[in-house]
Homo-oligomer: 406 residues x 2
């Protein structure tokens, strides 16, 4: 385990040390126009809650080409508010924003689509095409709160169906930040033979009390919205106020005191002097947060927010195995673990416990603690650093793989 | 300025070093039964917003006895959710909880009522007896949002009327934690001749963007409650859901990741296995937070919460003087500044800027950075350490005072 002492990143390969790899971010580009795809499964999905989904749909996207040996697949797992649309565009409209991690996925990028076949699916319980509480139940009405509770292991189990469907027996790697990291870790523990490497970024092996507390505050904001109506709001007004508050609050936890101070400080929104009013945002940071809340309400379902935050709270990789060590003893994958100095939502010590235990078990772990001011969101914002770290790591693993299969 | 490097407190007197004082916390006791008093002022209070309150009432309590020379008065300033009832009991019922800082105020305690005359008044804008948005306006109806915006300088100006009323020309000291520290600092800058010493605990000379962001999230939760009705809810149901969410969220910021983890961890509330439900709290930390929210709703007015959080956001001691240095050049008081290692709502660097500037100006400053796990609430929780620091400091000032007036 390595912690940096200055503003640059220190890296240490805990096992299999070797010369610096040859990875270069040459000719970065876009994956272009992509299409959301759907896989429908008629097989039942047995959930940790004891309930069963008799059938389900996963929305997913893919980038790059699956090679003949099906050995170049990387599964990216999205975080709480993400979806299957990682990269590229759905239309040719100039105003369209690309997928949520477009800077990471494409030809020459850290997930290099010239080399890898990249997959991302919307989680079960989500609201972007996969079956979730806003989906139509067998009785023709939306599930709403009749939707069963889902967990990170359930998300992974649904993804396992998708990989079977795509004919991918073993992932070259799986990874993600935040809840995405949880899914990647769960993959390596639940299906050790099917995961070559895990990219575990700004995440934790176990949600903390503080994390549960913030999630619960957000859920309570949704419950308190009269429009929520115990989840039965489809066809009527959505609980936009409550969901917006939940998002505002969560957004603060994705940033850092320093980045908020640097970005906004005490700057007023639109006046030279404090207007002294409750009617409009007075400080720029208020306006920014309210905008974040409003944008989110337009694209996200409040019930999905409830289900997915619960899944995050439930996550403890040790739960099924008695201890973290017992869970990690199952792991065959190599791990790259990345934490960020200003990430106080997923503080480094949580990942370090994972690193220490994997290391004690003799697994291959490369750990980076990156000094970055952007809080939890650093894993999305620090593109260049992440490209160097993740791209270089994947390149090295790919060279190893080619050498082994030559 | 001193920062500790281990788990004990390092202290350094930046000026006037002297031998360890003789303060002892001997025979701590209660102030017993106390009574809330009211001072009514018919003089107008001109507010920073440009508005005027034509008259106002302050609720206050006092403990101990004002001496003949009126030189032993200490004004304690309360934080966001506090009130004038600092110590003792209002009734003789065994079930009654004492005032919010009972452990600090009483015979032999850190604010030793055998020696000092301790005063605390509910802030203007509050809901515990002082004039605020729930008070009756001259037209016989509650002010609600017609109440003018108040600031920390306005709170201090109202307190200045109270001190005049009580015949106290100069405070021996004034102090408090959080927003209480803001008021104490404002006192020393606005009325330099009237303040002997400032006890500035877990506070800041200027609210940060992150702090404003959290407060705004809480306000938005209140706004989103249909019962809020743009502030007109008196006589009808209060916006309890929204206020409860605001309190839950704020309560997380008063604690620390470590203290939440130590107190609750992932402990379930009332089951051996996760119940998988939205209907009841599943984790103990959720139940705790919801209890905090419910308790708060029973004792606090939602509109007061809006006004007082705004006052906190507005606070920047430099605002009226152009710079922090220019504001602090006015100060004649001695300062004791205390920060806590786990206080991420009022991080130490904010107070350190105050300490550095006062020190550069040659003012007497004693600074302590206390290693304590309880987050912002440490100033209330770490009773023994605070008693040693504050009690010892006040004892020393008192010995100086006696020597000077002998």
């Amino acid at each position: 385990m390595v912690m940096t002492t200055d503003s640059t990143t220190t890296r240490k390969t805990i096992s299999h040390p070797r010369p610096q790899p040859t990875y270069r971010r040459s000719r970065p580009g876009s994956v272009g126009i992509v299409k959301r795809q759907y896989a429908q499964f008629d097989t039942p999905l047995h959930l940790r809650s004891g309930e069963t989904l008799e059938g389900f749909t996963l929305a997913y996207e893919t980038y790059g080409t699956l090679n003949a040996s099906h050995s170049n697949a990387i599964l990216i797992c999205h975080a709480l508010s993400g979806d299957a649309h990682v990269a590229g565009y759905h239309t040719s409209q100039a105003s369209e924003k690309p997928g949520w991690w477009d800077e990471a996925v494409g030809p020459g990028k850290m997930f290099d689509t010239n080399r890898f076949f990249v997959i991302c699916s919307n989680v079960i319980g989500g609201c972007q095409g996969s079956t979730g509480p806003s989906s139509t139940a067998p009785d023709g009405k939306p599930y709403a709160l009749r939707f069963p509770h889902v967990t990170v292991p359930d998300m992974v189990e649904a993804q396992r169906h998708l990989l079977d469907h795509l004919g991918i027996e073993k992932l070259f790697a799986t990874g993600g930040g935040s809840m995405g990291g949880m899914q990647a870790l769960q993959w390596a523990v639940a299906y050790p033979e099917r995961v070559g490497a895990v990219l575990f970024m700004a995440s934790t092996p176990r949600s903390s009390a503080q994390h549960i507390a913030f999630n619960e505050s957000g859920r309570q904001a949704i419950y308190a919205d009269a429009n929520w109506n115990h989840g039965d709001y489809y066809g009527g007004p959505a609980p936009a106020g409550g969901l917006s508050v939940a998002r505002m609050l969560a957004h603060i936890t994705y940033m850092s005191e320093a980045s908020l101070e640097q970005k906004f400080g005490r700057r007023l929104q639109s006046a030279d002097e404090i207007p002294y009013t409750f009617d409009t945002p007075e400080f720029a940071v208020e306006s920014y947060l309210e905008h974040q809340g409003e944008q989110f309400v337009n694209r996200f379902d409040a019930n999905s927010y409830l289900y997915i935050t619960k899944a995050i709270d439930y996550f403890d990789i040790a739960a099924d195995y008695g201890s973290l060590r017992a869970a990690l003893e199952r792991v065959k994958a190599k791990f790259q673990v990345i934490t960020f100095s200003s990430d106080w939502l997923y503080p480094a010590h949580q990942s370090q416990e994972l690193v220490q235990t994997l290391t004690a078990l003799g697994r291959s772990v490369e750990y980076h603690h990156v000094h970055a001011p952007f809080g939890h969101d650093s894993f999305l914002v620090e593109v260049e650093k992440m490209s160097d770290l993740v791209g270089t790591y994947l390149d090295r693993l790919w060279q190893d793989h080619k050498a082994a299969t030559r």
